[in-house]
């Protein structure tokens, strides 16, 4: 990764009627960076990516891809895009879809064939290359769509929720491919709901809510920024009501996740003491007890909730 900005966004604003979808956002993505764009549904992620990929136009502000205005032919030529709801042509084979994309990017026939074989092989689709796409599973379709986004060997790759709703194997294959691409120097702009995915893949993430950027930083730094969100995760031999846990001193919040309880507070040590005392008093047997650092998800929740309260 170098320090040259390959994606530049300046004061971008987009309305849908009276709804402000993107509110005067500005940021840069460096060349070779793996950049995550996180936010709840309707936060403005897809609108931003659609402006950057030239599908829609901003009402004001500007965006550039390697110095070319976003949406221009030059900018599109440098970009590979995996749109959120995209589909391949189901009446064509996987191979024909790739060759079609190659033709649309003006890639010479020989190069297109080699590249298509390479991509299909690395994404586990080579054996089915001549099958019609309407016979593919969802995971196979998504892998094919990723191949279509990569056919031109783009400098910048935009991916809108690429692993959403996929089986574990397909999601893992796509994430491995993205990591390899980033290692080769490609810039990746990824929107996702999956905090683990963002945490594992991204150099930096931006959190957007209601069209506004709430934070941009490395995942680890964002987690550290909310150190008050330390938590202790505990499971007991018997089911209990979380109300009792909520009454304990030093506990700010309790969340039940499956058969476990997650207690949030400023001091994890005090939380552990309180839990142990509580279980002794009630004669409960502790099955597991873990002190957890704030996760990216915690940072995300804290930032977006803060914004909700602020509004």
């Amino acid at each position: 990764m170098n320090n040259t900005a390959i994606i530049e966004i300046h004061n971008l604003t987009k309305y849908y009627g009276t709804l402000l979808a993107v509110n005067n956002i500005s940021f840069e993505v460096k060349e070779g960076e793996f950049f995550g764009f996180l936010g709840p549904n309707g936060a403005g992620k897809t609108t931003t990516i659609r402006i950057l990929t030239g599908i829609i136009k901003a009402d004001s502000g500007s965006a550039f891809i390697k110095g070319f205005s976003a949406g221009s032919i030059n900018a599109k030529q440098l970009s590979g895009v995996l749109p959120e709801m995209a589909n391949a042509y189901t009446d064509l084979s996987g191979w024909d879809n790739l060759i079609l994309m190659a033709d649309l990017y003006g890639i010479p026939a020989n190069k297109a064939k080699n590249r298509s074989e390479q991509l299909l092989e690395s994404l586990g689709l080579l054996e089915r290359k001549n099958s019609l796409v309407n016979t593919y599973s969802k995971g196979m379709k998504q892998r094919l769509i990723l191949s279509m986004a990569l056919i031109s060997d783009p400098l910048v790759i935009f991916l809108d929720e690429p692993t959403s709703g996929l089986d574990v194997q397909s999601a893992r294959m796509i994430n491995t491919m993205l990591r390899n691409l980033n290692d080769q120097g490609k810039t990746i702009f990824l929107t996702t709901h999956d905090m683990d995915e963002a945490n594992q893949l991204c150099d930096r993430v931006s959190i957007i809510n209601k069209g506004k950027i709430l934070a941009i930083d490395a995942p680890q730094k964002l987690r550290m920024a909310i150190s008050s969100r330390h938590s202790v995760e505990v499971s007991f031999s018997d089911l209990i009501s979380s109300e009792g846990l909520k009454q304990l001193p030093f506990v700010n919040e309790v969340r039940k996740t499956g058969d476990k309880y997650r207690l949030y507070g400023d001091s994890p040590g005090e939380l552990v003491t309180q839990i142990v005392n509580y279980s002794s008093t009630l004669g409960l047997h502790i099955i597991s007890l873990n002190i957890l650092s704030p996760s990216l998800e915690d940072a995300f929740v804290a930032l977006t909730e803060k914004e909700e309260h602020h509004v």
Binding site: K76, P83, M85, A86, N87, D103, Y105, M148
Partner: protein
């Protein structure tokens, strides 16, 4: 990249879109039914039992078939693609919206031009002669481009339901067929009928066909050509400009 190089690049990519359209959409059953069989049966239902020459029938039939085939698929390709979620990918590819539209029009144009020779060959087998083949072929090519562009105009409203677009198209196409001198020659129409017929591009194509096949057109051929070219330019400009505005609203 210079403007000329960019234009050349976009023309090549429009042809890629056209090839894709022909491959995916033009082999579907409804195209043959609504583009070819339907106008044939519609024409026969209005002509059987009436005293008409083969020349009159074939010239009207081929104009009508060209009109229906060239406007059969071009209106619904964009809504189809939006519905199938393939349009967003096209729009993010290095193409202008005008290129996508030009590709769709080219596909319709190629299909219409190819199909129109079916009634021509049938007519020749039935004994018709074409007095000026060059003018006739040129007219069919221009007519096909004109109707393909018109078809694309029908899909400008940003709905992703092909049935809605088909309804819009039908509302325009059927009246056009009846006012264009296909079933009743222009010279037999009342004055008000003639005035209305002049707003239909199909009138001019039918007149050229009558001129070449029946050897009796009603309007000067130069005027017919000028009208078809003017309609084509208008439809192309309208389709390109308005699709550029409405296509992003489909996503």
């Amino acid at each position: 990249m210079s403007n000329i190089a960019l234009l050349g690049q976009q023309i090549r990519r429009a042809m890629v879109i056209a090839r894709k359209d022909i491959r995916i959409y033009y082999s579907k059953g409804p195209v043959i039914i609504f583009g070819v069989l339907f106008p044939v049966f519609l024409f026969l239902s209005f002509t059987i039992g009436r005293q008409m020459s083969v020349e009159f029938m074939i010239s009207g039939l081929l104009s009508m078939i060209l009109f229906f085939t060239a406007t059969s698929i071009s209106p619904i390709v964009v809504p189809w693609e939006a519905q199938a979620k393939t349009l967003e990918r096209l729009m993010s590819s290095p193409l202008r919206i005008e290129t996508i539209i030009a590709g769709d029009i080219l596909a319709s144009f190629a299909f219409g031009t190819a199909i129109v020779f079916v009634p021509v060959i049938i007519g020749i087998i039935m004994g018709i002669t074409i007095s000026n083949p060059v003018i006739f072929i040129l007219a069919m090519i221009l007519g096909s481009l004109c109707f393909a562009s018109l078809g694309n105009v029908f899909s400008i409203p940003p709905t992703n339901l092909p049935s809605t677009v088909n309804m819009i198209a039908a509302v325009v196409k059927f009246p056009v067929v009846f006012i264009s001198g296909i079933f009743i020659p222009l010279n037999e129409l009342p004055l008000w009928g003639q005035v209305i017929s002049y707003i239909s591009p199909l009138t001019y194509l039918t007149d050229i066909a009558r001129n070449c096949i029946q050897k009796q057109g009603y309007l000067p051929i130069a005027l017919d050509f000028a009208a078809i070219i003017a309609f084509t330019v208008i439809f192309l400009v309208v389709a390109m400009n308005l699709h550029s505005r409405t296509m992003p609203k489909r996503i």
